[in-house]
């Protein structure tokens, strides 16, 4: 489902952040991507969703060669990917329902279908009663639930979450992770970038560790 081959990304005047790394994530897997700050987690995420280009190497996400795509092809490829950001990136002047509906609006879905799917996914994340609220009226945990709902509303094959619990306390972090696990149980391949050992140890999933430009497959969470 995700295949990274000999990927290198270097920024001018610095050693490579990612140096010839390769790994695979199979369809339906739940994988943690961890490492110290500056190890390249966010850079790798940006490359996976086509927001950054590697210096060399190839990347396939949802079986699509995202590093070889034109801007237009890349946009179409992103429609099978859901993304969750650490800082939520909810649009402040749109309601919860409007934020969640954005991926469906981009796809040109009918309004009735959009309303139904938005309600359904907000129910899944426990937020059906806050449809008309604005992001500023929500707590951090609620905002991240909305962000996850937005990432899931178009049923993506791959869900990429970059430090989704970075701004949340432990209790809320666990509840967010449960939502991501549930999305995985429904068939999505999920990659979660985190530096929280607590989360990794609690959920026994495969862990990829980034550091010193390389990547190491550390097996399941308990062994990290």
């Amino acid at each position: 489902m995700i295949e990274v081959q000999s990927l290198t990304r270097a920024f001018a005047g610095s050693p490579p952040v990612l140096n010839n790394i390769s790994f695979r994530v199979e369809r339906g897997e739940f994988v943690f991507l961890t490492g110290p700050s500056g190890a390249g987690k966010t850079t790798l995420f940006r490359i996976l969703i086509g927001m950054d280009q590697p210096n060399s190497g190839t990347v396939r996400v949802a079986d699509q060669p995202v590093t070889q795509f034109t801007r237009h092809q890349l946009a179409l490829a992103r429609r099978s990917i859901g993304v969750v950001f650490q800082d939520f990136k909810l649009l402040p002047n749109r309601t919860v329902a409007e934020n969640v509906s954005l991926p469906l609006e981009v796809l040109g879905k009918p309004p009735a279908q959009i309303r139904a799917r938005v309600f359904k996914v907000l129910t899944r994340v426990g937020m059906p009663h806050r449809q008309q609220a604005y992001p500023r009226q929500l707590s951090g945990g609620e905002q991240q639930r909305v962000a996850i709902a937005r990432a899931l509303v178009h049923d993506p094959q791959v869900l990429l979450a970059d430090e989704p619990t970075g701004n949340l306390d432990t209790e809320r972090s666990f509840s967010i992770l449960e939502l991501l696990r549930e999305a995985n149980a429904r068939g999505a391949t999920v990659v979660v970038a985190t530096h929280s050992a607590e989360l990794i140890e609690k959920y026994h999933s495969r862990v990829l560790v980034l550091g010193d430009g390389g990547i190491r497959d550390a097996g399941s969470g308990g062994s990290v």
Binding site: M51, L74, A75, R78, R79, K89, L91, L102, P103
Partner: protein
């Protein structure tokens, strides 16, 4: 149409555009006002040019080329010259007017002084060939060539084609086209630059929104469509304002000009642009504003394109 995904995507883009404009109402209004001032200059120049064109056309309709033959020229020769003139592509009709007929017409046109002609033993007016030009042809050079050709005939005394008035109108028309065209071009550049600048500001203000839409699969073309709609709306609103202002302004100027006696300007009626011209202006202003707005946010055009 409304059931296809592409149509719904366009509707969504239009909503984004309207939301973008509504979020900065003051900026939107100021942009429309600024652009409408530029468009007003264009419409005004166009109105003046159109009225001068109309004046030239009207001049052609009412003024005839009069070929005065030398005294003693025979009626047969006069008819030949009329026939020759009628074959020219510029001429609608040409006829020979013997001195007696010319005198009779003079009496009809000027009854107060017409009786003075009776004091002459022979008709004092010269035999004349009168040629009416085809409406719509205002090319001065061709009329001049036509007149010069007639002047060369040995029986011809002189040719009158309203030379002074026609040349003055032609010079005025050329000057209006040159100066008005340059001013209109400058005004168009200023207006469109205003639209482009404001749309780029709007783009910068909404970078987060564009980022999210991009992450969830909006294509680069789709991301530009809301700005196309924004530009179109600004162009349409500005052109309507400019046209209204120009229409009221023209109406006032024309009503003031109505005091000029009709005989001084051959009964030419001033008018604002035709409905066709008005609609064309609105359409072109809207489309060009939309395209300029769309181009102004293209990747690499100086905007912070997030991808």
């Amino acid at each position: 149409m409304s059931e296809t995904p592409a149509a719904r995507q366009l509707q969504f883009a239009a909503r984004l555009a309207m939301q973008g404009l509504a979020r900065a109402p003051l900026t939107t209004m100021l942009t429309i006002l600024t652009a409408s001032l530029s468009f007003f200059a264009i419409v005004t120049a166009w109105t003046i040019a159109a009225n001068l064109d109309m004046a030239l056309l009207r001049f052609n309709e009412v003024v005839r080329v009069s070929v005065f033959l030398k005294p003693g020229a025979s009626d047969a020769r006069g008819k030949e010259i009329a026939s020759q003139a009628a074959r020219n592509a510029l001429v609608r009709e040409a006829r020979y007017l013997p001195p007696a007929d010319a005198a009779e017409r003079f009496r009809r046109q000027f009854p107060d002084i017409g009786a003075a002609l009776d004091q002459f033993p022979d008709p004092p007016l010269l035999p004349t060939v009168e040629a009416a030009l085809k409406p719509g042809d205002t090319d001065l050079a061709r009329v001049q060539a036509f007149a010069a050709g007639l002047q060369k005939l040995p029986e011809v005394d002189s040719v009158d084609y309203g030379k002074d008035v026609r040349e003055a109108l032609d010079r005025l028309s050329a000057a209006v086209y040159r100066i008005g065209g340059a001013l209109a071009l400058l005004a168009a550049v200023i207006g469109l630059f205003t639209v482009a600048s404001v749309v780029r500001l709007s783009y910068a203000r909404r970078a987060g929104e564009m980022h999210i839409l991009s992450v969830f699969g909006a294509t680069p073309v789709f991301l530009r469509i809301p700005y196309f709609f924004e530009g179109m709306f600004i162009g349409a609103a500005s052109s309507v304002l400019a046209l209204l202002a120009a229409a009221f302004g023209s109406s006032w100027v024309f009503s003031e000009l109505a005091v000029i006696p009709e005989s001084l300007y051959s009964g030419f009626g001033f008018s604002f642009l035709s409905w066709g011209a008005v609609l064309t202006f609105m359409l072109v202003a809207s489309l060009v504003s939309g395209l300029i707005a769309m181009i102004s946010v293209r990747p690499g055009a100086g905007s912070e394109w997030i991808e």
